[in-house]
Amino acid sequence: MSDLGLSEKRSLVSVRVGDALPERALTPDNVQLFLYNAALWNAHRIHFDEPYTRNVEGYPGLVIAGPMLGDWLNQCVEEWLGDSGRLLSIEYSNRAATYIGETLTSGGTVIAVDQPSGEVQVEVFVKNAAGEVVTPGIATAVMEAE
């Protein structure tokens, strides 16, 4: 992954309400989910024990960890900002479960720009393959004037 498509410098004056953030396809697999939960010390079986997850919890497959979906919203905003801004805050909720094997998409839209303060608000999402938003969020960033 050599080219992120990061802009060298995204200037505040060029940002408009309605601008779309680059979308990213996410295809988490067992290895990634395992490493994520290992990094946390999260031993919840629904993330690695497939027979338990299906037969006891009744899920159709291994469940992607909720905070990892939240992390992807943060990444979506930070990759778009590049070096020209800083993420100040984010709020999100995990609305529906997603499973190993699904292809997910992260993305977003600029919903507010305050030129004097440099604050930009972005609506972000992770969608599942059916196009349903499983993790909606709102992020606030501050961008440099030039």
């Binding site: 490493l35 919840h44 992390d71 100040l88």
Partner: protein, 151 residues
């Protein structure tokens, strides 16, 4: 309307965890950045902690016999609620200062609210937990407010 929330349960509002102090290391940042599929070099190299790294830093490190059979650790901050099935929740994170390897951070969690709503499918209990993360100089670094719903 009857309430599920006894005075005894509501008395838990304001309960606070023992502050937890942890060291941020380059190695832990690298593991987190790689596992989350991060694509920014400063994070993959561990030069700076990415957003939400604090989730890994402050996840409870519990011993094996403290885990439930499904692999979950019990959150000792929470009382026993009359509803137990967890539904989706939300959170808000404020990033106040960047985090670098070598930083010592201390997190304190507070149960800030418990309330009830009556949805179409029955009663719901909401609770809110506020996590304040400060550095050794006492400066606020991250604030995380979580709302969870039980049905």
């Amino acid at each position: 309307m009857t309430t599920l929330l006894s005075d005894e349960l509501l008395a838990n509002i304001g309960r606070q965890s023992t502050p937890q102090r942890e060291l941020v290391t380059r190695r832990d940042i690298r593991k987190y950045a790689i596992a989350t599929g991060n694509r920014q070099r400063k994070y993959l190299d561990g030069d700076q902690a990415p957003p939400m790294f604090h989730v890994a830093l402050f996840w409870d490190v519990v011993e094996l016999d403290k885990l439930t059979p499904d692999g979950v650790s019990i959150d000792s901050l929470l009382p026993k609620f009359p509803l137990e099935r967890a539904m989706a929740g939300g959170l808000r994170i404020d990033y106040l200062k960047p985090v670098f390897p070598g930083d010592w951070l201390t997190a304190t969690r507070t149960l800030t609210n418990i309330y009830e709503k009556h949805g179409r499918s029955g009663p719901l209990i909401f609770y809110e937990v506020d996590m304040q993360i400060v550095n050794d100089a006492g400066e606020a670094v991250i604030r995380e407010q979580t709302t969870r719903i039980l049905r």
